[in-house]
Amino acid sequence: MFKYILQRLIIFLPTLLAVSLVAFALSKLAPGDPVELLLKGQASESGQKASVQAYEEVARRLGLDLPVFYGALSTAAYPDTLYKIVKKSERQNLDKLISQYGNWPQISGYYLALKQLEANTQNIVADSASYLAKNTVSRQVKELLLNHKDGKITYALAEIQKIMPDSGVITQLKPLTNQLNAGYNKIKAEATPHKNYIPDIKWYGFKNQYHRWITNFFKGNFGYSYLDSRPVGSKIWDALRWTLIINFISIILAYLIAIPIGVSTAVKKDTPYDRIVTTLLFILYSLPSFWIGTLLIVFFTTPEYSPFLDWFPTGGVTDLPESTPFFTRALDIMHHLVLPVFCVTYGSFAFISRQMRGGMLTVVRQDYIRTAKAKGLEEKTIVWKHAFRNSLFPVITLFAYIFPAAIAGAVTIEVIYSIPGMGKLAVDSIIARDWPVVFTILMFAAILTMIGNLAADLLYALADPRVSYSKK
């Protein structure tokens, strides 16, 4: 048994690794720039120079100035220092240039000239004569930084050249623009696209973004949300409370109702009662909870269809402020949670009832039950004392399956009823590309699923001595 647990625990590691790699890869493949997302919250147009500085500072804080991974399989044309360019859009543009021309030395010369031009243009104090020209130049420079297609680059270079001769102060940029033009011509003249077909393995060492991320995760430091800069841990904890409340209530309710129903249908097997209840349970089990959730919210939360059906609030967890007395507030929360709890409950309730019925039926067939009947024991005693106890334990072990499923299942209900729980947090963060939160939720969900599966298997073995994991 111990060996089995150890074996299973060893599986945890590659799984977590796989999940973390997938989550990390997704976060890297995602369009959009996390730094800009963060800066949007504190947008202050205090000059371009300041914004560049702010960008670099945020990027450094997020560790985005590090290489992405331990190593990479890339082309020989690709330099191993490209990660040092922190601005994501510029880096991606250089990447495309490399894929086209395959000559990094020339491209880097062009890029440096471009950056120099950008800085110098900003430093120029424009008078009324050169004001327009300065604007044109800085706009075209921006275009150049983000474009890789020959047509667009040539056009932008030509525009800059056109504005040069008659624009006062701007003419002092002349040597730089010439250098830029020469640089671009050099890229095209000395292109080595064949380098893109030579594989090259690069090794960056342990100082990389993934390593930083994963070690911090295991140290319990989950990072900060891109959206509101709150610590991810506290964000998740706030959300987890609601999910746990809903799921605990619903699981307890499900067991409380399901067990008597399962037993009674098994006892009255093949009677009309059994047939009707079993069919109803099957239908309940097949009803998609997001449909039932929608139906309930449409029909029972507004006076739209009949003033007598406006029973529940439409969504959220409470309308009252924190300062209201505890009891009133708790009552209000209860009122809000009735429909969500119902939606989470009915599926697992139907499932547990079906399992309970099945378990009872197998036990009732056993010889010792027939013996009990033969010696004249009362029906009630047989059912509750002899059969029920033996069929109960496997049903309890279902708990371990249900719990991780409930967390995942909460997504539906929380979104429909706008409950600020884990599921809603997950969906919202995924849509907003708030990767630190998504990453942490994915990892926790994986850990929870694995622990649930392991616990279920172990409980199963405990419940049924015939199941053994130590053999083989």
Binding site: S286, P288, A408, V427, I430, N453
Partner: protein, 439 residues
Amino acid sequence: MFFRKKKEQQIETAIQQRAADQSYWANVKRQFWKNRVAVWSLRVFYVILFIAIFADFLSNERPLVCKLDGKLLFPVLKQYTVSAGLSSWDEKFVTTPWHEHHYEFAVWPPIPYSSTTIDKKNRNFTSPFNKQEVKSWRWHHLLGTDELGRDVAAGMIHGTRIAISVGVIAMTIASVIGILLGSLAGYFGDDNLQMSRIRLILNLLGLVLGFFYAFVARAYALGAGAEESGFMVPFLISLGIFTAIMVAANLLASVLKQVPGLSSRVNIAADILVMRLIEVFNSIPGLLLILSIVALTKPSIINVMIIIGFISWTSIARFIRAELLRIRNLEYIEAAQAMGFSEARIIFRHAIPNALTPVLITIAFGIASAILTEAFLSFLGIGVAAEEVTWGSLLNLARTKFQAWWLAIFPGTAIFITVTIFNLIGEGLTDALDPRLKQ
């Protein structure tokens, strides 16, 4: 869809316990036909399949047959050639909506709207029972309209097609992966899969090189270059390059195998590898993962199908493995081996066909769960293009307007019925496979 694991375990043990039965397939069929509910579910499935296949003829803004300016036209049929790029519409059909021409005569589909047709006169959620601004009863919106004035009945029919294709395509992908890996694990076990050392090395090398030339070196063609020309063609070229490199590696291995020293054989523990992979996949929180992948890719229903397929192959692999563990010890396989048939031929021609029945169960349950997942994704508005009408997206509209009960009831019923009949067919197959499981 979350509690299937328990059931799977039961079925798996049943497969292992079952003795070889000669007229097995016939027996399964007989048992299945005894189950009236399952048989009726199958009939409902045929109806749904019919709707899915002939969706264009059941609901379309174009007439089936019409006579315009003395010419006989078949616009619904012609649409197929137009979307294949073989012909094009006349100017007048592009500029004027189909409903507004003066036909000499026209036969319309049962529902004379497409899922995307916008009826401007009946915007803002027109109820099926209220008065609608239509020419005659023939143009009545039977199931009402949505905010833009799109016909809900047409959306439901289009949604049927999407739901069925999600189920079928996702499960086809899952079956291919599951059957390949599962039969590998089941047939070879831990110590029967051997290959020459050089083949192993060359295969690993081929994987790296194939990945490099197909995807790394072509990153530009797949990414920025694909912006204009579309992603599919460069991607297929990449796949072709990858396959070619793997084939070349294996051909080279076959030649180099003759060289002494390179031909020593290594054992590959196929069963352990596959089972561990399955465990890893089972521990991944599927719905969340699908959500985060789908949210990244360009909204397209095809992506959703592919991702669902790639995540749900594990139960099929487990079933096939359990079956092949049993089959590989049967005499006819031994006979085939003795006759010197190649392993590939034995697996694909002799072993797998006999192991497919239990896989049907998982496929039935899998289709139900794939349809549910897709409906849920489009319900959240993730992964499906905004103009695409599916059952889930229709149901989602009900949340924006509580008065529109028809949007809450009809799409949900369709999801429920489809999911339920696939579950019932699955249950029926389970019972037919092993009557002892019947509870």
